[in-house]
């Protein structure tokens, strides 16, 4: 033992005069948590969509999704909110990291003690807590992700290539791409409520991850007998509510659906999909072989009913065949869906028009139930002078001609009037026929009802968009095979009531442009002339559309309606659901005699 060893410990004394290390006694006030501290939770309830991803990822089962007063399930919000159990939570922050809506975060508050352990439970953001107003605390770093925020790009034909032919533009996912895209789904199931047909989206996406495409197909046919079609042209409202899309891009549900169908050969359908139940002896007539009519036919046939479909055209598919150009929906894809329905024994009478070939009342008399889904096939009028000019044609006719292989003779300069999907189709078809295309629309691009993708693709293919342009008159041009369109610029006027802005024609800013053809595509209406007045008088019909009751049933017990002619959304997937729902109603009605 050296003297140094005895003395050196006394160095402790030198610290006696230093400032003490000790901190004060008030926890939060004097020592708030660090700016990124993982403290108590806070949830922006308005942003939260109740997807339950926080519940799924919590390894401690610390989160319950619960109903809260004042919130209802609607659209893309389940109406549920996370309730935290601070007898379970370990403040790992995985719930914050996974939160699709970005509504959940943690504050830097950390002090909570109580004598009653049942207190440690609260619905974040719905119950008042002392840390509600705090701004500090943990939130996900923008570059840190627990699932890929960007979708797998779908390979498309280049615009210069696509405009040259009617080849399908979207090439479809490869298996690897599809699995990566399917991996992005968080399986919350919010989309199921928004999908008009309530397809089991998370389940069939799951089957892609498992590589079990046959199961995926089965799941899709539970609610939709047109998966090949919907996988290409669906309006995909599901994607608009997909929580993954809130902070990133939504899961490409439509392309995944298409991927599944593309993986299964039509020859295998009979083996994979459900077969027809025993014959019931009931006969059902369906008017219109569009998506609505065939959907009803499919589900009714599965139940064992005899189904006859009456179609005025030469082929089945309705608007899907005659209204959707083949670069979006190639005929083989549509045929794949229709052929399976027909293979179950659904009988389709082509070129058979109700009202002309068979009286509507005969249907009601001779069949156990009638489903009417005749769609919207009468183009709306522009209500301008010179509308009957020979060089003014309607968009549906143009598409119809092209679908039937006829040359519509549009010339080399075309004006398309309208901003919906039919207008985009007409414009892009005209481009493919070799014309220079100008699209005139009353409002702004962002007001167009057409799909954003469609608009972008049309622009990429060289269609010129002239917005805030109101057609006024179609005049005879110098050359007889041309037409001069008089149109005026419009100003957008704010609606004082807060509705959407209204275009107002500016009389002093008029233009005259000459085209080979003016294509009008501003909407369609229905034609219900085939229904005799004595019947139609009993029915609820408004603006040319049926107003159906529950299960798509009309006042006449036997009559069920659906599709564009009976709903406001007028898209394929709604028609499919109408058909399916009517099938439920008809089966229920025939089975039990119950009305909807």
């Amino acid at each position: 033992m050296s003297l140094k060893d005895l003395i050196s410990p006394f160095f402790v004394w030198q610290r006696a005069f230093e400032k003490p290390y000790t901190v004060g006694l008030k926890p939060i006030v004097e020592r708030p948590g660090a700016p990124a501290y993982r403290g108590f939770h806070i949830n922006m309830s308005d942003d939260c969509v109740g997807c339950g991803s926080c519940f799924t990822i919590c390894q401690n089962h610390a989160i319950d999704m619960v109903k809260v007063d004042g919130l209802e399930a609607h659209g893309g919000d389940s109406g549920l909110r996370p309730r935290f159990d601070y007898g379970r939570c370990c403040w790992c922050g995985l719930c914050v990291d996974i939160c699709t809506a970005g509504s959940l975060r943690m504050t830097n508050e950390y002090a909570w003690f109580t004598t009653n352990p049942d207190d440690f439970r609260f619905v974040a953001g719905m119950e008042n807590k002392s840390w509600d107003g705090r701004t500090g605390g943990y939130h996900r770093h923008p570059d840190y992700h627990l699932f890929p925020p960007k979708r797998i790009e779908m390979e498309m034909l280049a615009p210069e290539e696509s405009v040259a032919s009617f080849t399908e533009v979207a090439k479809g996912y490869t298996e690897e791409q599809a699995k990566l895209e399917a991996d992005r789904c968080v399986e919350c199931g919010i989309c199921v409520a928004t999908c008009p047909a309530h397809m089991d989206v998370p389940d069939y996406i799951h089957s892609i991850r498992d590589g079990d495409y046959e199961k995926g197909l089965q799941l899709m046919y539970r609610t939709n007998p047109f998966p090949a079609t919907c996988g290409r042209i669906c309006t995909r409202r599901c994607e608009s509510v997909c929580p993954v899309g809130i902070q990133g891009e939504p899961v490409a549900i439509r392309w995944l659906k298409r991927f599944i169908v593309d993986q299964v050969a039509e020859a295998d359908y009979a083996r994979i999909l459900p077969n027809v139940e025993a014959d019931t002896g009931k006969r059902i007539a369906i008017v219109g072989a569009g998506p609505g009519g065939l959907s009803a036919a499919y589900y009714l046939r599965l139940k064992g009913h005899a189904v006859e479909v009456f179609e005025s055209q030469a082929q089945a598919g309705g608007m899907l065949r005659y209204g959707v150009p083949s670069y979006r929906l190639p005929d083989p894809a549509l045929d794949k869906d229709i052929e399976h329905i027909r293979s179950l024994g659904v009988e389709i009478h082509f070129n058979h028009s109700i009202g002309r070939d068979t009286a509507f009342s005969d249907l009601l008399d001779n069949y156990d139930a009638v489903f009417v889904s005749t769609g919207l096939n009468v183009p709306s009028q522009m209500r301008i002078q010179g509308e009957d000019h020979p060089r003014v044609m309607d968009g549906l006719k143009l598409l119809d001609d092209v679908a039937n292989g006829k040359d519509p003779q549009i010339g080399t300069s075309v004006a398309v009037i309208g901003g919906g999907n039919v207008a985009m189709d007409a414009a892009r078809v005209s481009r493919r026929l070799g014309a220079e295309v100008t699209v005139l629309y009353r409002r702004r691009i962002e007001d167009m009802p057409a799909d954003t993708e469609e608009i972008h693709e049309a622009q990429a293919e060289g269609c010129i968009f002239v917005t805030q342009a109101i057609p006024v008159e179609a005049l005879n041009a110098a050359q007889s095979d041309q037409v001069t369109l008089k149109w005026g610029e419009a100003e957008m006027l704010q609606d004082p009531k807060g509705g959407r802005p209204r275009p107002v024609l500016q009389e002093e800013r008029m233009h005259l442009d000459t085209f080979d053809t003016v294509v009008s595509a501003i909407g369609q209406g229905s034609n219900l002339d085939y229904i005799p007045t004595e019947i139609s008088d009993q029915l609820q019909i408004k603006w040319g559309k049926f107003i159906p009751g529950d299960y798509q049933q009309m006042v006449l017990n036997k009559l069920f309606v659906g599709g564009d002619v009976a709903n406001a959304t007028a898209d394929a997937i709604s028609a499919i659901e109408d058909g399916h729902h009517a099938a439920r109603g008809i089966h229920r009605f025939l089975d039990t005699g119950q009305r909807g």
Binding site: D64, R121, C188, H198, D200, H580
Partner: protein, 179 residues
């Protein structure tokens, strides 16, 4: 390294030699040669360090795989020696004479997997558990959640709602598949 593995596969019939990453090789040995093999590896090949030993329950194949992880400080290589033993009346030769910490591992394996090591010191004593009456908990068929529910009480008043089912109930009660 390779010559050693060749010799081992010849003399000890070791199989499934796989290099998992540079410096880590796994191999499978038969139960009856395992002890000799380990001794050989320790004394002749320089694998003097026993990182750990443990077991994996392959209930679907009816075996426990015992894993002996050995390290050679000189060549910086690790050998993972796998030995498959029967799940029923699981028993293995004790290696407590080879490494001093081995008997502790064997005690743990005895308690948590129910693998016996005859002759291993204090192998019958409680290790982590005390008065355990169920099947050994690390076995795959032991359901820890079910045991917790049966044995312990959790706080009441919890319960969750599935968003998808909730929305189905509120928004489309009569629609969707199978309705």
């Amino acid at each position: 390294m390779n010559s050693m593995l060749e010799r081992l596969s010849k003399e000890f019939r070791v199989t499934d030699i796989t290099e998992r990453h540079p410096g880590l090789t796994t191999l499978t040995a038969d139960k009856d040669v395992a002890e000799t093999l380990l001794r050989e590896l320790r004394d002749r090949e320089g694998y003097t360090h026993l990182n750990f030993m443990t077991a994996i329950d392959y209930i679907e194949r009816g075996v426990f795989t015992l894993v002996y992880m050995l390290h050679n400080y000189a060549t910086k290589s690790t050998l993972s020696v796998h030995v498959n033993i029967d799940r029923v009346n699981a028993e293995m030769t004790s290696i407590h004479t080879l490494w001093a910490q081995a008997w502790t591992y064997q005690r743990e394996l005895r308690e948590l997997w129910g693998i016996n090591f005859p002759g291993s010191p204090r192998v019958e004593e409680d290790f982590c558990l005390e008065g355990w009456e169920e099947i050994p908990p690390m076995r795959r068929e032991f359901d820890t959640v079910e045991y917790c529910e049966r044995t312990f009480t959790s706080r009441e008043g919890r319960g969750t709602v599935n968003p998808r089912e909730h929305m189905a109930e509120i928004i489309f009660p009569n629609r969707g598949g199978d309705k």
